[in-house]
């Protein structure tokens, strides 16, 4: 029998990204032919005869010009080809910092497609929904246990929606007390959604400078904290990948002046089973089920951003809350102090199903090990790459590490060039130019689901790029070359926006 005796590993290491089959595919509107449809619909045989109150003729439409006329195979090929231009977690390593692009287990998808979940109606009688309601109730308990909080709402559809929910709950409580508090302290390392959520609630975002270690400065909090402050909004671990080690002292200062401590839990993947944020003085925290709890990102959602609070804020939770009375689950809409509804129905339920199966398949030990592995992986990358890339905060990190382009800039190579070159090496780029406090940031989050081999391949690519920056910077600036398209003209896109297809006439 013949077998391959030369190791492929090294070759693959150095040329992991290759040009692949990518077939051009025009917009669907430029395809098809009159009379085609991809779906077969029943012929309607009901003869209505004459009925009163039917639709007035002048409200009936002629036709929808933009809709295509294509066959089923044309439809399938259209989207199959387009899918092949996309990079997903199932394609490869996706070290997008603060986005926690971990593997999305397939059993979650199976569970969410069971008809009792997928085809059930939110308004069907509660007696027919006991399975789903139990799932919601149990998931709330699990998330409260993981975060060390008392109560949970699964209604927010995304992290930013969870933040908004938190701000609204605090606003409701303040309005009740007729309190004029209106400022929210936000560290300069925060995600953009934080100040935006604050502004949507009519509060004022007050930036809080981080100290030389990259974390919240206790003295700044002391000097800014006054009777006008609603809350401090802190991401922990923060977006530099650092644990906010002063958080308990900060919480004390904020609480003493009557403020709340809000934790943006986007980075909870570092802390499961290690730390309960509720024990650090946090009053409200949102979790991202589409980050920490393995639900897929869907090319930009749907996600879920449940909000967890301490008991004192429970009366303000959005309605309905799911409650357990004896062995029966009920939706309680009767919360007089509630902020109301944040979203239709009960949140992105099928996303909750996926997070629920994730937690049940991992168990306590599994979740702890996931967080530990995520932290080890990030530190491994930090240690391996710090010779080649400038590390602005040289301390052990949590689940992500942040480098900059300082060393490469002397050769005229920027963070953007490094990110684009990674595509040629077969990797998705890290988060770039964020957090804003770091000039030319490259924020790398490997997650726990990557093998050492895959992380080593990435490290190898990064080292190669650092070399290339010195030796052949021009080549690097032309990257990516192995993707379907090269770099795009974003300026023209914004200046003369073309946001839809139009017929040439």
């Amino acid at each position: 029998m013949n077998c391959i005796d030369t190791p492929m590993t090294e070759k693959i290491m150095n040329d992991f990204g290759i040009k692949t089959l990518a077939i051009n595919e025009p917009l669907i509107f430029e395809q098809g032919s009159a009379g085609r449809t991809a779906f077969s619909l029943p012929e309607e045989t009901i003869d209505l005869g004459k009925i009163d109150g039917s639709l007035p003729d002048d409200l009936i439409r002629d036709s929808i010009d933009c809709l295509p006329e294509i066959s089923e195979v044309e439809l399938i090929r259209h989207f199959t080809r387009m899918s092949q231009w996309n990079y997903g977690v199932d394609t490869g390593f996706y070290p997008l910092g603060s986005c926690t692009m971990k593997y999305n287990p397939k059993l979650n998808e199976e569970a969410a497609s069971l008809p009792g979940f997928a085809r059930s109606h939110p308004y069907q009688p509660e007696s027919l929904s006991q399975g789903s309601m139990r799932l919601l109730w149990e998931l709330e308990q699990y998330l409260c246990e993981i975060a060390g909080m008392d109560r949970c709402t699964l209604q927010p559809a995304a992290g930013a929606h969870g933040e908004l929910c938190a701000m609204m709950m605090m606003r409701a409580k303040l309005a009740e007390k007729k309190s004029p508090r209106h400022k929210v302290l936000i560290p300069d390392t925060a995600h953009g959604t934080n100040p935006a959520s604050v502004a949507m609630c009519g509060f004022k975002a007050v930036p809080l400078k981080s100290n030389r270690e990259g974390i919240i400065d206790i003295d700044s909090v002391k000097s800014l904290m006054d009777e006008d402050v609603v809350a401090i909004m802190a991401t922990n671990p923060n977006t530099l990948g650092l644990f906010e080690k002063n958080i308990v002292a900060v919480s004390d200062i904020v609480h003493k002046k009557g403020g709340y401590v809000y934790c943006d839990g986007a980075n909870m993947n570092a802390l499961m089973g290690k730390v309960k944020v509720g024990e650090l003085g946090v009053d409200l925290v949102h979790l991202n089920l589409h980050k920490t709890f393995s639900t897929p990102h869907g090319g930009g959602g749907p996600g879920a951003g449940p909000l967890l609070v301490k008991q004192s804020l429970a009366p303000y939770l959005p309605v309905p809350v799911v409650e357990k009375n004896n062995e029966r689950f009920v939706f309680n809409y009767d919360l007089p102090q509630s902020i109301g509804k944040l979203k239709s129905f009960y949140g992105n339920f099928l996303i909750c199903v996926r997070a629920y199966t994730y937690i049940l398949s991992m168990g306590a030990e599994g979740l702890r090990k996931a967080s530990e592995t995520a932290v080890v992986n990030a530190n491994y990358i930090r240690s391996k790459l710090k010779k080649y890339y400038h590390l602005p905060y040289d301390d052990s990190c949590m689940h992500e590490c942040v480098f900059t382009d300082k060393k490469q800039k002397q050769h005229g190579v920027s963070t953007l060039d490094i990110a684009k070159r990674l595509i040629d090496h077969g990797f998705h780029p890290p988060t770039v130019y964020f957090p804003l406090v770091v000039d030319g940031a490259l924020m790398i989050e490997p997650t726990e689901t990557e093998s050492k081999e895959s992380i080593d391949r990435f490290i190898n690519a990064m080292i190669n790029i650092a070399k290339e920056a010195k030796e052949n910077p021009e080549e690097l600036k032309r990257s990516p070359q192995k993707s379907k398209i090269t770099r795009v003209d974003e300026v023209t896109a914004a200046r003369n926006p073309i946001l839809k297809w139009c017929t040439s006439k």
Binding site: F79, T91, P122, L135, A158, K274, H297, P302, E365
Partner: protein, 435 residues
């Protein structure tokens, strides 16, 4: 790996966490289950639910039981689509980006509008974001919301606007089941930022937007038209035909599972003049360095990751995959399919309307034209009727008493292509036998 990092054990990596806050025992969670055990558990939970898979649903009210063709599942479960992130890096996201560009085109076409974003969370939050958008555009602080829009949309608008500065005027419905024109006139006299209407409205009624539009625009307010059943626009003239400034709503009917209420699809479209005020992601067409057509997230100066507290909205993650589903669905249906489907829905509802009104204890609550659902006035308690029909494996509709104090005798019933003539005959026969 620990050696490379230069630590002895994993604990050293958590040294920045003050020791007393490090957990010294495992979380109190159920023991882990293998895939086999877990699926068994999930099937048990699934068994405790009923769904349109084993009951006959005449229940709509903003979420509709439509047929989802097989191709849908095969396309949207391609991992290249569902395991990717928001398309920040256009070179490796052209699939998502081109699909979103097609989505925006489809939404504009279906609704008769100029510009669309790439989705929001759901119909309710899209309605709330539309109101915030109107408040930004004309800097007024009063809005009018018709009581005929979906009750959840109304409640979410209220939650979003509860900032002490925005006054919300509720416009009641009249005996036609439409927005009360006189009450709207009164509200407009005091000045409004916008009026939010819905057609087909929550009662399934097709409101004649022409009469409202004129009044609203004469007082320089913006017209926001919401919807919860987009299949209607396969048959009906869209909100854009009636000069809607912003048109928003729910896209669940477009190939998305009911899923016990989510994830669904928030749609927001507007006139061209307001493009730079639209919240959320927008995809634009441009060229790459080699001159090829390419797609990219654009007008990002509106967004939170660029503008932070000055952003149009805090939206980051939206409902990308649901927007993809709607795109595949509408493209699959195509020009003739959507028309045919809308006709089937409407005809089935009209057939049921004829049959149901023959029952002695049932009457129509309103006589206005409807699309695929309508309100019945019952001589018996709707909750009781609903409960009794469950034994016959029928979910008879939605009791409106929970939303409207003056409609405690009313039941909203809904009909789609899933309810055959035989189902409807059986439904009416069962109702007939009840009393």
């Amino acid at each position: 790996m620990l050696e490379e990092i230069g630590v002895d054990n994993i604990g050293d990596l958590f040294k920045t966490v003050p020791g007393k806050y490090l957990l010294d025992k495992e979380l109190n969670l159920p023991s882990p289950l293998s895939e086999l055990e877990l699926m068994k558990h999930m099937k048990e939970l699934n068994e405790k639910n009923a769904s349109a898979a084993d009951f006959n649903f005449f229940l709509g009210g903003g979420v509709y039981n439509h047929f989802i063709p097989s191709v849908m599942k095969y396309i949207v479960s391609r991992p290249e689509f569902y395991t990717s992130y928001t398309p920040y890096q256009p070179e490796v996201s052209q699939g998502t980006l081109q699909a979103m560009f097609e989505f925006q085109t489809l939404m504009c076409g279906l609704l008769g509008m100029d510009a669309s974003n790439a989705s929001l969370y759901d119909g309710a939050s899209a309605a709330a974001e539309s109101v915030l958008m109107a408040l930004r555009i004309n800097k007024q602080d009063r809005i009018a919301v018709s009581s005929t829009i979906h009750p959840d949309y109304r409640r979410v608008i209220r939650t979003y606007c509860d900032n002490g500065n925005t006054e919300i005027v509720d416009i009641p419905f009249d005996e036609r089941g439409m927005t009360d024109l006189e009450k709207l006139k009164e509200a407009l006299q005091k000045g409004l930022s916008c009026a939010v209407l819905q057609s087909p409205n929550f009662f399934g009624i097709v409101e004649d937007l022409r009469e409202y539009e004129k009044l609203i625009h004469e007082s320089n307010a913006l017209l926001i038209v919401a919807f919860s059943e987009p299949i209607a626009f396969g048959l009906l003239r869209p909100p854009g035909d009636f000069e809607a400034d912003i048109c928003c709503g729910e896209g669940q009917s477009l190939g998305i599972l009911p899923g016990f209420g989510g994830p669904h699809l928030g749609i927001l479209t507007a006139k061209e003049a307001y493009v730079r005020n639209i919240p959320g992601r927008i995809v634009g067409r441009t060229r790459d360095e080699d001159g090829r057509d390419a797609y990219v997230l654009t007008l990002t100066a509106r967004e939170q990751h660029i503008r932070r507290e000055k952003a149009r909205s805090n939206v980051c993650t939206n409902q990308g995959l649901c927007a993809l589903m709607a795109t595949v669905y509408l493209e699959g249906l195509g020009k003739s399919g959507i028309k045919k489907l809308a006709h089937i829905n409407h005809k089935r509802a009209e057939y049921a309307k004829g049959k149901l009104r023959e029952i002695g204890w049932i009457d129509l609550r309103f006589s206005s034209p409807t699309f695929n659902e309508f309100v019945l006035k019952l001589k018996h308690k709707p909750e009781e009727v609903l409960e009794k029909l469950l034994d016959r494996k029928i979910v008879a509709g939605l009791s409106l008493g929970r939303f409207y104090d003056d409609l405690k005798d009313s039941l909203l019933v809904s009909f789609t292509e899933m309810n055959t003539k035989e189902d409807i005959d059986n439904f009416t026969a069962c109702l007939n036998e009840l009393y």
